[in-house]
Amino acid sequence: MNRHSRYLFSFVKTNKSVIRTSHFTYYPDPPTPAQNKQKMNMFQAINNAMDIALGEDATALLFGEDVGFGGVFRCSINLRDKYGKDRVFNTPLCEQGIAGFAIGVANAGATAIAEIQFADYIFPAFDQIINEAAKFRYRSGGIFDCGSLTIRAPCGAVGHGALYHSQSPEAYFAHTPGLKVVVPRGPIKAKGLLLACVRDPNPCLVFEPKVLYRAAVEEVPADAYVSEIGKADVLRKGKDVTLIGWGTQVHVLLEVAELAKKDLKVDCEVIDLVSILPWDKDAICKKTGRVIVSHEAPLTQGFGSEISASIQEHCFLYLEAPVKRVTGWDTPFPHVFEPFYLPNKYRCLSAIKEVIN
């Protein structure tokens, strides 16, 4: 389904104003202690992770729509040349086929890294992912599984992606036992999470915020490493309000925390949840007494609902204000109204004022 993707890709590439006018400022991760580092943007870090995965595991396969020539977001560039057409290849344009094929590859014990071109187009594969991949081990009593399966999909707002190039579908999958779901916030995290997912013995989904592919640049450790699935990262310590987000929204929240400090004298803690399923309950409870959860996806039944309910259940006595959710509206993701749709820093800042008073 790359009807508009090439256009999108070239737009992002040539029109720097997309990044200049974007709704967030990128906050790179602090430098890692690794000796051997390389400056990479997020698509390069993902490419590097897949290069390592294909290099260390001769059964590993990489496939999807337009993956062969390098992918519409360049994530698989040069990999076909390096590993051959039988390992890095295009599939027919059919998401249910890609997911089903990947499950079969994993059934046979090989490693499958499947790409869905946009997270918006993962829904034709919903049945294969929910009814098959997630339940394979359980229903067979553990004699068969598809644990060596990873599905990657670009997600989230990109400035002009409208209804079908902007969605954040993580909550649909968070309701499915048997899956692991992660969202990286930048290149270092993306590489570590992708390698962790490829090696994890369970089917994993990686939703990659596409606006970060080029906008996010960091010094990425060149060697292989994994970032733990199921563990949140505290990116900024604070004592007054806890801000929780994932993906691009983490960068909105980091900026909001600075604004809150400057304008409101409020000390915010910022947590990147990283892993949607399973998610890190211990990281978010009993800290500041005030919590704001923020995500791009719509409010109703968004993953913020799960977090809020859980905080209310486990941290009731510590709460000094109701848990506040700042999210996309309960509408499809619009084209020209995107600036009004997103849970931007101004809406997050208002929410901080609300929970403080």
């Binding site: 599939t91 994993a106 014990g109 049945d127 009814n131 359980y138 229903r139 009593g141 004699i143 692991k180």
Partner: protein
């Protein structure tokens, strides 16, 4: 004006010997091409552009100077390959698979075993002893005929992805009566740990991937498995994927056919066309030439066989296996049959078809009866021995039912295992919550039926 299409009479023009290029030997027959709204076209006019080959990336074909509207009826139905007639006589002696007496007897007995077990388990569902059942009546030959090739060409290492009406494959491979019935009871001996409905069998040892209810989902999976297997060093196994003609309407079937072809996967796509998907007759399922008719459209080698003829299935499967292994390409096999039993124990099929119709397929056209006739002719059939065999199987099945239903169910904690490779923290918490609730309300939970 739209009236053009009304005024001009559709005229079918039979072009002399308009041969379709390079089809499999099985149907090199003359093709006819009809053209609507054109009065008289001569072959010469139509191929005025002869020699001009298309350079479109999407298709290689000749140009014609008149519109050629290919009608479905212009393509002959793919013929049904059969070896045995209903009297058990081999029509074309070159097609005699020359199986040994032992092999044929095993085929026959496996069919009888499946049939006998089906009858009893069907009844036991009727008595409320198991929750659900699906019989294999009328389709025994498809399962046995396929797998009996193992004697000659197929091995247990070939991986099976099934739908749910292929228990005969398991019978042939050595799944025991005990294993079948334990699964139906979901007791502690069931390898599936009682998690799925009855007849959702699976066996790692026998390379039979665990059945799931969603239809056709196994099809692209089988294709993916075949792709991964073909990359193994010295691979000597293929994948066989079973599905019904109803499941073939699912999007996943399209995905599987197309992926198998474009990615050159050694997979045999085996369609059991038994005429019905629950109550929906085949003519409400598709308008084309069955499922086999779709194979060539995807660029896949295709064969249609008489699914009530165990030798035809055997020969065709042997051919398919040789082809997919040698060419590293898929094959489509459509086995024509009739679903003699109800769809499942939740269905009464006389609500949508006549008993008389069923009776024909349950007697003279039944795969067991055809093979029996063959054995009688060869003097390989002994009435008394077979009666004893059936009696023996009945006894074994009944005995196993009483054993299996007395076995404890698995420990209730198995409810939480195998969701992931380990039990993550949040599931451990939920397991503990249930444990506490069971302790507080012991009398309300059937704990005594479950392994401690």
């Amino acid at each position: 004006m739209l009236s053009i299409s009304r005024s001009a009479k559709p005229i079918q023009i039979v072009l002399e010997r308009f041969k379709v290029i390079d089809r499999a030997n099985s149907f090199k027959d003359v093709k006819t091409v009809s053209s609507l709204f054109v009065d008289k076209i001569k072959f010469d006019t139509m191929v005025a552009f002869a020699g001009h080959t298309s350079v479109f990336p999407g298709a290689k074909a000749a140009f014609v100077s008149q519109p050629v509207f290919l009608m479905p009826k212009d393509i002959e139905s793919i013929p049904i390959y059969r070896v045995l007639d209903r009297d058990g006589k081999i029509q074309d002696l070159t097609q005699d698979p020359n199986l040994s007496k032992e092999t044929v007897q095993k085929m026959f007995r496996d069919m009888i075993l499946l049939n006998t077990m089906d009858k009893i388990l069907y009844e036991s569902q009727r008595q409320g002893r198991i929750s659900f059942y699906m019989t294999n009546f009328g389709e025994e030959a498809s399962h046995i005929g396929y797998n009996s090739s193992s004697a000659a060409a197929l091995e247990i290492r070939d991986v099976i992805y099934g739908q749910y009406r292929e228990a005969g494959v398991l019978v042939w491979r050595g799944f025991t009566i005990e294993q079948f019935i334990d699964q139906c009871y979901g007791n502690e001996a069931d390898v599936g740990k009682g998690k799925q409905m009855p007849v959702h069998y699976g066996s790692k040892d026998l390379n039979f991937v665990t059945i799931s209810s969603p239809l056709a989902t196994q099809m692209p999976q089988a294709v993916g498995a075949a792709y991964a297997m073909k990359r193994r060093k010295n691979n000597d196994a293929c994948v066989v994927c079973y599905f019904g003609e109803g499941a073939a309407s699912e999007g996943d079937a399209h995905a599987a056919f197309n992926f198998a072809a474009t990615l050159n996967c050694p997979v045999i796509l085996f369609c059991r066309n038994n005429g019905f998907a629950i109550s929906t007759p085949a003519h409400e399922q598709y308008k084309g030439d069955g499922i086999a008719g779709r194979g060539p459209g995807y660029g896949i080698a295709t064969i249609r066989v008489d699914g009530t003829d165990v030798f035809a299935v055997y020969n065709a499967m042997k051919l398919c296996r040789e082809y997919v292994m040698k060419e590293s390409k898929p094959a489509v096999l459509e086995a024509m049959a009739y679903r003699v039993g109800h769809h499942s124990t939740s269905d009464d099929s006389t609500a949508y078809r006549s008993s008389a119709e069923i009776e024909v397929w349950n007697s003279v056209e039944h795969p067991i009866s055809k093979l029996k006739n063959y054995m009688v002719k060869r003097d390989w059939f002994n009435e008394a021995e077979e009666n004893d065999f059936v009696k023996d199987i009945r006894k074994k099945v009944l005995k196993q039912i009483s054993i299996s239903e007395k076995k404890l169910k698995p420990n209730w904690k198995e409810l939480f295992t195998d969701v992931y490779n380990d039990v993550p923290l949040h599931l451990q918490e939920q397991m503990n919550e249930l444990k506490q609730n069971i302790e507080e309300n012991k009398s309300y939970y059937p704990v005594k039926n479950f392994k401690a």
